[in-house]
């Protein structure tokens, strides 16, 4: 497929009129063609208007139609074949195997949401039948289902050019909920975005859905993004990116005449707690696992383990030695963009020159441009507690180890942490009491708690929570990975005394959609329960 450099507004390719974006191959510094002339407020208007026009139809599509649509998107992405992977490699510097895996995850996630749509659990149907004889007042017939919020703006992330970009988790969950989507492409991978955007566009056409179900905008700077979040037809926002970018969009979302939900996944240093027995017994293995997780994908994951916390002593020293050794052997990897590489170097430098840390080890230096060199620093618990800048996320393969005086200081540090996506415990049987004491703190701090693993590698499933208290995300009540992400884009509506002929199928007598329904507060075990 020839890349055109155009925006996709509904079914129409549109050439932008603003500054041109070119991807840069971070491995070589080479500028990639074509250029993508950015859109402006006109294109935001057009895409939002089409999305709005599509909304009432799309949100009431039959479950099977919507599920097939999601599956068709997956097939269309797969049909792009190697072209997609090759272009994505050029734009991101990510290796083949990683991108093939990420494509699998992207398509798997779309198909998971297709199953979710079919099951209908997401509608959260409950029915409280009328009680005509009740005294002193009869009860009306009351039925609740969830409906889509409205058109959703999605911001592609740089670090998952497939799985959290144009057809990524935010888009998949919003489409599954019945929301049209307008994507603002990440400027780092416009060609990848165009290819995937065209795949979605093709799926919209194949499934005979209104064209406004999907649009793709390009634009440098913040003009397009800000206009999109401010557009009155946009009813929710999905964003994965930096804390500064996320909080800026949060402010716009809240300052609208009608404030809207803004789901920003932003910043997390993902603390790893090494408990004493585990450290004694397995310091070398833990060190290897840790360095593997730290350096995976050049450390460019939201769940990268950027903080290690343990009580100082010979076991921790042994762990540090083993980590140092493992880290020395790591090769520098190409980072996603020149800008990310530059920011990484600056963040590492800020940490190294903070006066509060000592350098433990660096990985091998890069041999070509934009390669991120791994790093490990050590700070004392008291210094970490005294200086909250040491909690700043370093986006890349650098971590800070905090040496604590005792478990009391470990607790103080856990309490002092900002909100996190994850918290990890390395423990053995003898550590259970310590772990149990930490757990209530970690539950308050993080969306996901792991034992004896590492936080990178986020499973796309039903129980996943990729979320957490601010600033990990803007809304700890949700997740952006996994099937529960659909709930972000829904709201409940109650129908009181509607005649069956007016009721949506999901809440009609006779349960024509065979849904699990909560009747009078009791879950009906089998379908076909009459409401």
């Amino acid at each position: 497929m020839r890349l055109t450099g155009q925006l996709l507004i509904g079914k129409s390719p549109v050439t932008g009129s603003k500054a041109v974006i070119n991807a840069i191959n971070p491995a070589t510094g080479e500028t990639l063609e074509p250029g993508y002339a950015g859109g402006g407020t006109d294109e935001v208007e057009q895409a939002s208007e089409l999305a709005w026009a599509a909304f009432d139809t799309y949100r009431e599509t039959a479950l099977e139609v919507r599920a097939s649509f999601l599956e068709t998107i997956a097939s269309e992405i797969e049909a792009l074949g190697d072209e997609l992977i090759q272009r994505c490699m050029l734009e991101t510097g990510l290796p083949l195997a990683r991108l093939e895996g990420e494509r699998g995850r992207t398509c798997g996630q779309l198909r998971l949401f297709a199953q979710v749509v079919r099951s209908g659990e997401w509608m959260g149907v409950c029915i409280d039948p009328a009680q005509v004889e009740r005294t002193p007042m009869p009860r009306s017939d009351l039925r609740q289902r969830h409906i889509a919020l409205g058109p959703v703006a999605v911001f592609g992330a740089s670090n998952f050019p497939l799985a959290f970009s144009v057809a990524g988790g935010d888009t998949a969950s919003a489409l599954a909920a019945g929301c049209p989507v307008v994507v603002k492409a990440h400027s780092a991978h416009p060609g990848t975005s165009e290819l995937v955007g065209r795949a979605i566009q093709a799926a919209v056409a194949k499934c005979r859905l209104p064209e406004g179900v999907f649009s793709l905008l390009f634009g440098s700077g913040r003009e397009v993004g800000a206009a999109l979040v401010a557009d009155p037809r946009i009813q929710a926002v999905g964003f994965t990116g930096s804390r500064s970018g996320g909080t800026a969009l949060m402010k716009i979302a809240q300052a609208r005449p009608q404030p809207i939900p803004m789901y920003a996944e932003m910043s997390s240093i993902n603390p790893v707690f090494l408990l004493s027995e585990a450290l004694e017994a397995r310091c070398t293995n833990i060190a290897k696992g840790f360095v593997g997780s730290l350096t995976m994908g050049a450390g460019q994951f939201c769940t990268n383990p950027g903080l290690v916390i343990a009580v100082k002593g010979t076991a921790l020293d042994a762990f540090l030695d083993a980590t140092k050794e493992a880290l020395h052997d790591t090769t520098a990897q190409t980072m996603l963009t020149p800008g990310i590489h530059q920011a990484y170097k600056e963040s590492v430098n800020n940490l190294a020159t903070s006066g509060k840390v000592r350098e433990l080890a660096r990985g091998r230096a890069g041999e070509s441009s934009h390669q991120g060199q791994a790093g490990l620093y050590v700070a004392a618990g008291s210094d970490f507690l005294a200086d909250e800048t040491l909690q700043a996320e370093v986006f890349g393969a650098t971590a800070l180890v905090v040496e604590c005086a005792d478990m009391a200081e470990v607790h103080s540090i856990a309490e002092a942490l900002e909100g996190q996506l994850t918290a990890t415990l390395q423990l053995d049987d003898g550590d259970l009491a310590s772990a149990r004491a930490l757990l209530p703190i970690l539950e308050r701090k993080a969306g996901r708690i792991l034992v004896n693993g590492f936080p990178t590698g986020v499973e796309v499933c039903h129980a996943m929570v990729h979320g957490g208290p601010f600033p990990a995300t803007s809304d700890s009540r949700t997740t952006s990975v996994g099937s529960a992400a659909i709930h972000r884009f829904l709201r409940p509506v109650c129908y009181q005394d509607l005649p069956d002929a007016l009721l949506p199928e999901a809440i009609r007598d006779g349960n024509p959609l065979n849904l699990n329904r909560l009747i009078d507060g009791r879950r009906q075990p089998s379908p076909d329960t009459r409401g």
Copy 2:
């Protein structure tokens, strides 16, 4: 019980040091004793600190303990007997039967949440078991449950001195979720608040819960409320009141270093659509029902039907005649406070002098102070569309009828409406097609859609949605009435590969709490399913 005029901070009565609040009997203008010296930031600090200290313990209380606590609160409120009702009558001007009914609703709601707590559905447990053999990567064991957000600030509402005040729906749902509650009492009914606060305090002690589970603050002006919403230990806010008050608190909640969810139920004019066949067939009955709903409780309900929309013609004229007649006969009723009465008079005056409406009828004038006189005004559809100030809520028994040129104008008006708590359709069989065409618009505009009823009288049940798009509420994804209100105060946490000994009971193998659980995305019909 002797009223002391003190704040309740945990188990301690505390005398405030700020300006003294006295309730005023709105029926007589008489000042009621005792005075309640307001708290300041010190008392906010103390209450929040106690709530925070109680949080980890309270959120993990056994389901039975928490359910019993809610039931004990209900019993303690009932044990206050006539004293509560008498004091509440003096402070609010509301009649005996209404307050007895409201007490029943308040206690019923607490007991409903006790059932909800016991059922455990609110934890939303789902388990994706490990897949050790999966290739290329094994899957970890992933389990999700919901936990409480943290201490919640609740603002008592003036218009439900029992059911949406100190032990009202916000408090009940937050306590059910496992959140300690700090209530800012409404200054209109401090004595009622103290009595109910002491009932909760007694229940905390009887159930041997940490004292910080509940505190009650008094304070004039906005100092206490603003400090409470800004306090870093407060993690969510429940508010029922005016649009200006709600949006001011929203701003504070969002401007915190860590923004928090703010659930404000604010402003709604609850449109009633009269479709043509129904109007032809039943105009007199609809008029009677409408006037009954409009004037109930002096119109001081969030769901008061303040807007009627119909196509002009002889049927609408007949409805207006019947409404006029019914309204003429209504007696003025004492409003909740002198301030509310004054604001009502001003709102009616603004409407009457807008130059866009004509007066159709007024009810009888009041014979004593602070009685609200009912009113009905008529505007042309085109004028309503041209002037959004005609959508301003008039808090009291005054409504506006909009005469439309045709159904197309009815649709335009429906589309032009702000977010609403409710939308009502009066229809007969011949109106089904018209209703079906309006329904998608109403679903986007309102949290609850009624047919052939009136919006006042909000059932406390599972399917209820007392919520809706802004400005009806600050968060359309939720409800403040009914069992689903509990979800406002919860967030999901995922547990990855935790040994059974560390897992919370709700997600342990063997399902010791006998919960409905979603296993691998499939709902398990019977308990005892092994995860």
